[in-house]
Amino acid sequence: MTPTRTAAAPTPPPGNKKPRSKSPTGVRLPAVLAAAVVALAPAVMAVPAATASSAPAGSTLKLALTGDIDSLNPFKAILSSSTGILALQYQSLVAYGPKNNEDIPSMADKWETSTDGKVWTFHLPKDRKWSDGQPITAKDGAWTFKAIQTNDQLKQANGSLLSSVAAVEAKDDETLVITLKAPQAPNPGTQLPIMPEHVWSKVENPATFTNDKDAVGSGPFTVTSYDKAAGVTMKSNPYYWQGKAKIDGITYAPYKNSDAAVQALKTGEVDLISGLTPAQYKALQNQPGITTNAGTGRRYQAIGINPGTQTPDNTPIGDGSPALHDVELRRAIVMAVDNKTLLDKVLQGLGQEATGEVPLAYPQYNWDTKDLPLKYNPQAANELLDKAGYTKGADGIRLDKSGNPLKLRLMGRNTDPTHQQMADYVKPWLKEIGIDVTTVMKSSAQVNDDSTVGNYDLYFTGWGMGPDPDFQLSINTCASRPNADGTGATSENNYCSPEFDALFKRQHEELDQAKRSALVKQGQEMIYNAAVNNVMYYANTLEAYRSDKFQPFVTQPEKGGVITGQNGPWGYYSATPVGMNTGTDEASAGFNPAAVVVPAVVLLALAAGGFVLYRRRSATAGDRE
């Protein structure tokens, strides 16, 4: 006999007393858990349904906020989520129109430029008001410009916009005059958000002012509260000059995970989401009550090719392959990459094949020629290399001018899964023209560092762009090259050409729109022919919204544009509810929870009951033995 049996033997087995003494540890926990689940399930289920039907239909637009908010102080905010919110709250003197990103009236309804192109005069109508009812005057504009000019701490967000400004003066309440250091084509009244002087001049330190509660602005919506947990709430500005929005406000619900945001759209917790992956986008296309939108993006995707990096005083830096100094080799590389296949396979076709750097979203400046000399043609690329004297070795790898095998590195970001996918295509393509490529994926910060100082041969890059191409072109000038330690200016791809610099200056000063557009396109062609930046495609911005709650939104540009992330508030401002909520949310989500929940709860209760019974019986049997 084991000690256990011996020990147990003297214990009296009083049949019905036993289970009770066991229950504290034996049965109570599962029983309590089961009971709790059964009791709570209906209550828990009931709540979302209740909130969905009790809220007035369509009175607020609920958005998934997938990015992070750094600050709602317009002098400091740089992350796109924050600037997107601020773009609804503050206006510039001149806005970018929804139709074509063209300059249209905003705070100012008229403006003119002096003949020498240096003095810009903006006229502000008398009757415009801030969201607190105070009048908007030219002094607000002057105050905002001066605040940034005189306080380094306020330069963080928009300092670069003022580098060309010599002086700003409010002649009277309705006239604001901006004097520039040199003539320029880009309107100095766009982009810079104007702040209400009567609010901000009373703030002790504007740089540390959080500005996240009951803010005063001039745009269609203003922030009422911000909380990292509860998100951002905005209300419609009754004084917005184009009229109060049709919705009462906007709620931004924070989502750190886009899959969760997609689920939230399906359940109706949010009404509009952006930044979908191609897979998420395709999955949402067949959902009833949901409409998807693939808006033409503002960003190009490219392979940067290191032409030999130099500092502004022409000192070579970086460890790029010297073979790439040869433009013929670079052109052959561009010809070996099949942009169309990358777009179709990696982006599932959700984008447009590219020509120049300015995306289709900006038709005024988009270089849209069909006659591309460097279009995909591996055979021509091989011939070009043969002619240029790159002979193939025994292993099929070509030798460079100094007799070494052509081995190049291709760098990408490990935070972007498309980079590895694209690298898997590019590697064999370049092998086809006799170039051996090793690919390496690094952290974003590392890629920034390496690409700045020229420590790369090839790398995946891309830039997002505002409506004016001036900045994008400027980072291709010789003066934009960085110092040896990576400080100083930012260059797109270390390109430097005196002809391009001259062209840049001409377009920068050209006030005639047609002439300027032509010059900008010419500039893109020069960069293209120098083969320092193989622009592959413009990815679409993938969005989806509850079309059972909201009518179609205004997109920018009008044709094939985006709802979210516009250069202006038009998309959200256009939000129009589809009549009253008829309580069809659940059905329209394609799923009836009751069908699953009720049997699930019953099953759970049965299982719990069975378990309790089983426990009682086995315990009693064991004790009786």
Binding site: P3, L29, D70, K155, G159, N257, A260, D450
Partner: protein, 358 residues
């Protein structure tokens, strides 16, 4: 004492050393020695913890300087920024200073309880951390408490009925959850219980845009907590179960249990009053250690369920890179682990008389 002496199996007197630790230890002989050794013990452990903290402070500064990435360039990434603007930013953040000067500033700040200013959020790091530590503690605290209770309870049941079907299914199930990737499990929960069944919200800590207070607020938070807590519990409870089970199995062959049974105690009482309290000892250290780790381990769960806690803040800091924020979260996380470890040592000694005697 009678039953101890007349143990039928051992048939003789039980040696004094085997006296049940959960019972009444011989206080008189132990008392004088304990006072001295306690001081020495705590001193040694506190010294160790202090050294670790100093290392953390040093590492917190230097380790992150080795990270690639110019923070100012990262901030300017893809934006229209002039070289002058970048210089201003460098000056503002003290990045134009030589490394020793930056280190000195970091140290002096630290002694004043300051962790510097975050580059990305333009706010004091301390403020950011304090802001988010509440939600993280709420989430991890609840998950930890549930995991401990569930794990220990299942563990001792499993061990007591070793080899039974209950034992096999419970250990098997726990190990399956333990091996499942947290991210995957979280997403699955989200898809089924939020997206599919609509039982729970898809993310966040409160319903966005709803200004609830009091009970309504608590209920709202509770609803949002269910899925993240369940995910954390599922992944974590296995380790408590396994340790408890192993530790109880070890106790089960101990002589004092025989004694207890010989006294005529019921099987259930033997387990609850004698075996389990002793088997709990090894789990105490584990609980304290994992509490520290849980705070850091919340990163994944917080990201899946959009929980406004410390985990996601750290992730943001790393991708920027935001040195002060990284240093801050690193120092805070590490300090929590070190302090928990220190507590574990003390509690362990308090609970285990064997350690106290030696």
């Amino acid at each position: 004492m009678e039953s101890t002496l007349s143990d039928p199996v051992l048939g003789g007197a039980v040696p004094a050393l085997a006296a049940p630790p959960g019972g009444t230890p011989d206080k008189d002989t132990d008392e004088p020695r304990r006072g001295g050794s306690w001081l020495r013990y705590i001193g040694a452990k506190a010294g160790g913890a202090a050294v670790s903290l100093v290392m953390v402070v040093l590492l917190g500064f230097f380790a992150f300087r080795i990270l690639p990435g110019d923070p100012v360039r990262s901030l300017a990434d893809g934006r229209q920024v002039t070289p002058e603007q970048m210089d201003i930013l460098r000056r503002q953040y003290g990045l134009d200073q030589p490394l020793p000067a930056q280190f000195w500033r970091y140290l002096t700040d630290l002694f004043q309880g300051k962790l510097g200013d975050s580059y990305t959020y333009n706010r004091p790091v301390m403020e950011l951390i304090l802001d988010r530590i509440g939600p993280t503690l709420l989430l991890t605290g609840t998950a930890a408490a549930l995991s401990v209770v569930l794990g220990l309870w299942l563990g001792q049941r499993a061990a007591w009925r070793r080899g039974s079907r209950f034992d096999k299914t419970q250990t098997g199930l726990a190990l399956v959850f333990w091996s499942v990737p947290t991210f995957w499990l979280g997403l699955l929960m989200l898809l089924v219980f939020a997206g599919g069944l609509h039982w729970f919200p898809t993310g966040g800590m409160v319903t966005a845009g709803v200004q609830a207070t009091g009970l309504e607020y608590a209920w709202d938070v509770a609803r949002h907590m269910v899925l993240p807590v369940l995910t954390m519990v599922a992944v974590v409870y296995a380790q408590y179960l396994m340790v408890m089970r192993a530790s109880l199995l070890e106790e089960m062959s101990a002589d004092y249990l025989v004694t207890a049974r010989a006294k005529g105690l019921r099987e259930d009482e033997v387990r609850r009053k004698h075996a389990v309290p002793n088997a709990l000892l090894p789990t105490v250290t584990l609980i304290f250690l994992t509490l520290g780790g849980l705070v850091g381990g919340a990163v994944t769960v917080e990201t899946v369920f959009s929980w406004p806690g410390l985990g996601y803040l750290t992730f943001q800091a790393l991708s920027a890179p935001d040195f002060p924020l990284l240093q801050g979260t690193f120092v805070v996380f590490s300090s929590i682990v070190i302090i928990m470890n220190f507590f574990a040592d003390i509690v362990y000694r308090l609970l285990d008389p064997r350690l106290r005697a030696s």
